[in-house]
Amino acid sequence: MRGLHLLLSGLVIALVTPAAQGQTLFATPDTLDVARYTTVEECLAAISRVKDSVENQPAWIWRDTLPATQSRLAADARAPLPAPVAAVARRCSARFRGGAVPLGDFAPLLSLFLAADRDADADTLLARRLKEVGPTADRERAAVLDTAIHVYLALNQVGGQPFALPLFAHPARLAAAESLVTAFVQIKTVPWEARLDAYGELAVLAVSADTVRAGRAAKAMLAVVNGLSDLERRSSAFRSEAIQINAALMFDRRAALLDSLRHSTAAYVALWREMWGEVAGQDSAVLDGFARPIGRPAPRIKADWWFARDDSTVGRPVKGKVNLVVFLNPGDFSCFESDDTSLCNRTYAGLRRVAQRFPALEITLVAQTYGLFDKMAPPPPGLEAEQFQRAWLTERHLPGALAVTSTPFWRLPAPDRRRINRDVPNVVQYSFGRTWHVPNWIFPPFLIDQDGTIVETAFRSFDADLPEMIAVLLARQVTPPQSGRDR
């Protein structure tokens, strides 16, 4: 019996060994001969594989030294695909020709051609696909163009959901995308929200690579808004586009806004009010979605525990100085357990850069207790506050003083038993009677001038817009504007 086992084992080894010797083991970067792949799906998978292996290497390096890390999209707009990735794309796509490939594989092939820098083939393929659309098939034409815009801009998300294809158009093909957007918005059946979004996506990607093109997109967005009826302006869709429209206004009127701020906060606020009136009309219900509490006195921050406050007799925001009030949200636990690429940590890095650049800026961090910290509950509120101090000030080196408020709460009756937090004074006061739209109650930072007036709350990030405004305010602090000359 044992002899039979040995015989069988030998037979298995003899049969299996040649196949094993002929096997090519996978290693990164991809060592397989991708030119042998026959389908577009195999090629896109190979590109994704190599791209992941290349990009994941530096993912654990803190990026404090890099500008504008908040916007990965914008960075991608400028950066080409890593060389090994582009090489795999070129090798794998060699067998495909834009003029001959089947149109059934239109979208993945478009992505493949752009990954391989074969833009002419991509354009040819797109032209063939559009030619196939009947002259009256507006919906189909819009769908094809919408897909192409996403592929040319490598927009990996649609409405918060991942795009169905891996996209590799790096750098983003802004010129081609702009002409596609132009064709897309001219289709009569495309609703205004989709037109606005198409221009908005182009603007976001162009803003760090091609500001002229971004400016055109911003103007086009405002033109879409100006063409809306009163009914459309009163719709919930219009309010949900408020952030995007405000960003377009900010970009389009940036110079004028900064000029007005150099003059005075009142002038800056007046200009914004004028712009809101232009895009939203004077209907207060519509304005509610747009208006931010700029021009209002900044309420004094209250706290049960203060950390890293130099002078306990001075209230915050500090009168006579330029202030930044930042509401921190420990309820988002990814802030306490995450890699350096998380939104929290990138935001923290931006805040540290701002503090480093403007030492005269007074920063106040505002938090409240939640009855839990990280994975543990329930710590006493004082201990929870100390953990905040440790997490934010000691470990993440956030600048400024930290104010922590103990949150009163009650519990739903059994069997539910959930803890319901009551509003704390800081949140109530900075909500200004809920007269402005705070998305999910996560407050943006408040920039406050030396007179204690809120100047701005809408920033794309700590790296964009904010530094210029702080510089203006600090310059004003040195050389106060003349009174009585406000617009």
Binding site: W60, F333, F336, E337, S338, D339, D340, S342, N345, Y370, G371, L372, F373, D374, K375, M376, A377, P378, P379, L383, Q387, R390, A391, E395, L412, P415, D416, R417, R418, R419, I420
Partner: protein
């Protein structure tokens, strides 16, 4: 050198690791750690003996075993936890696993706190989940059982297919600064399908338990054959709403989705579905139907790990720390009284450390009516053996097929076998449309034991004909 020396192989006397062996292994792994901090280790070792047959002939007889070691390293200061799994137990491999876990820990930003160790101590139950008989069911005995199952079907000129498995598992968890938790468990299952060679009828029966002596293979064989013979030459009937008598297995194949919903309190509060009561705009949170009546008041759905027929591994860890699996009553006389949740929910929503452990084992209460009485009191209806391919269409609505025996009942008697039908209905509607409830019995549910009654319900919706037998 002991059985857990530098290089470990599992021989036949060591088909899975005992508590002491796990403890030794954990200490070895902790000895490889560098840089302080904490080392958590989970060890799962299992053995499985299985036999599969089709067309009355054995197609697979196997004896498999494996070990899975999960090492989690948490380093001091501002680092996170790194997690690595391996099934290699030699020193070199384990050292490499620990180093890799430490590298991952270094890469992750994580606030270490003075209160992270506040997982409360707890006692876990010691349920009945081990059977020497199951563990001792040899390959030869499994073969003999299969022969005994195949022979009656073959003698009747039918084709049978089936599966027998006995499995033993040792599960050890060593949370940092806590004593080792350990449980060893056996499971057994036996199921078979008997089909007419011409494809005119099909019958099925199955049983599962941690204790092989609670499974009666010969009774299962008789039942599957009888169902096959009785289901031959089915007639076509129109789809539509029918009074149905669901055998316990059919009930289980629907109620398992109810139990899954009862195990996810977060979803019940925040996602549309039968247990969701909508968004409370005043409180700014989602509400569940806790405290409200959700099914027929004759029904109670609960689980107690100390129930002799419903034992499960009595502890768990969802990545937020260990917890015990205690008794729970989700639905009490029709009222939703509790929903399960893990430690993550307990910490975030209740700000405490006490989860109600999710689990799929359950007991459903019953009533006094036998299936025969249900048939006798039915003017027109369908008797359903089981369902197949049940899948959700949305949060509450499901579709699937009847299978392995469907009969028309007319005037209190089974009148004929009928062809299979597709149903499109909700188990929640079913449990609110009950006419009669029978005595609960253990059903075939190898992954998590369940005790379920037969039910008679009105207006169950069949939406199309299925030609397959």
């Amino acid at each position: 050198m002991s059985g857990l020396g530098r290089f470990l192989r599992l021989d036949d006397s060591l088909r899975f690791l005992s508590r002491e062996e796990c403890a030794t292994l954990v200490e070895r792994i902790r000895g490889f750690a560098q840089g302080g901090g904490k080392t958590e280790v989970d060890v799962t070792s299992w053995w499985s003996g299985e036999l599969r047959w089709a067309r009355n002939r054995v197609s697979l007889a196997s004896d498999r075993r494996d070990i899975s070691v999960h090492v989690s390293r948490t380093l001091p200061a501002m680092t996170g936890d790194g997690n690595v799994m391996t099934n290699q137990l030699d020193d070199v491999s384990l050292t490499a696993a620990v180093r890799e876990a430490e590298r991952w820990a270094h890469r992750r930003q994580h606030s270490r706190t003075d209160i992270v160790t506040s997982v409360p101590d707890f006692q876990y139950a010691k349920p009945a989940i081990w059977s020497d008989t199951s563990y001792g069911l040899t390959t030869e005995e499994r073969g003999r059982i299969a022969r005994a199952l195949v022979d009656p079907a073959e003698a009747a000129g039918m084709l049978s297919a089936g599966y027998i498995e006995v499995r033993a598992q040792g599960t050890a968890s060593t949370p940092a600064e806590k004593p080792l938790m350990y449980a060893q468990q056996t499971t057994g299952q036996c199921s078979m399908t008997v089909r007419d060679p011409e494809g005119r009828g099909s019958g099925w029966a199955g049983g599962s338990s941690y204790d092989w002596t609670r499974i009666d293979p010969e009774a299962l064989a008789r039942r599957a054959l009888q169902k096959c013979l009785a289901s031959r030459n089915p007639v076509t009937i129109e789809p539509g709403r029918y009074t149905v008598i669901l055998e316990p297995q059919a009930v289980h194949e629907l109620v398992v989705f109810v139990v899954a919903a009862l195990n996810d309190r977060h979803a019940a509060e925040n996602q549309p579905g039968p247990l969701n009561a909508g968004y409370d705009t005043a409180l700014r949170l989602g509400r569940s139907k806790l405290g409200l009546k959700v099914v027929d008041e004759r029904l109670t759905i609960s689980h107690d790990p100390m129930d002799p027929a419903l034992g499960v591994i009595p502890f768990g860890d969802d990545g937020w720390g260990p917890y015990p699996v205690d008794a729970v009553t989700w639905i009490d006389h029709g009222v939703l009284t509790d929903l399960s949740f893990g430690r993550a929910y307990a910490v975030r929503e209740l700000t405490d450390n006490v989860p109600i452990a999710p689990r799929m084992a359950y007991r459903m209460s019953g009533g006094p009516t036998s299936v025969e009485e249900m048939i006798a009191t039915t003017k027109r209806g369908l008797l359903v053996t089981r369902f197949s391919g049940v899948r959700p269409l949305n949060e509450g609505l499901f579709t699937g097929l009847t299978r392995d025996g469907l009969w028309l009942i007319e005037n209190g008697k089974i009148s004929k076998a009928v062809k299979n039908l597709r149903f499109t209905d909700s188990p929640w509607f079913l449990l609110n449309s009950l006419e009669q409830v029978g005595e609960p019995v253990p059903v075939f549910s190898p992954d998590a034991p369940a005790i379920v009654p037969p039910l008679k319900a009105r207006d169950f919706s069949f939406t199309s004909l299925i030609d397959a037998i």
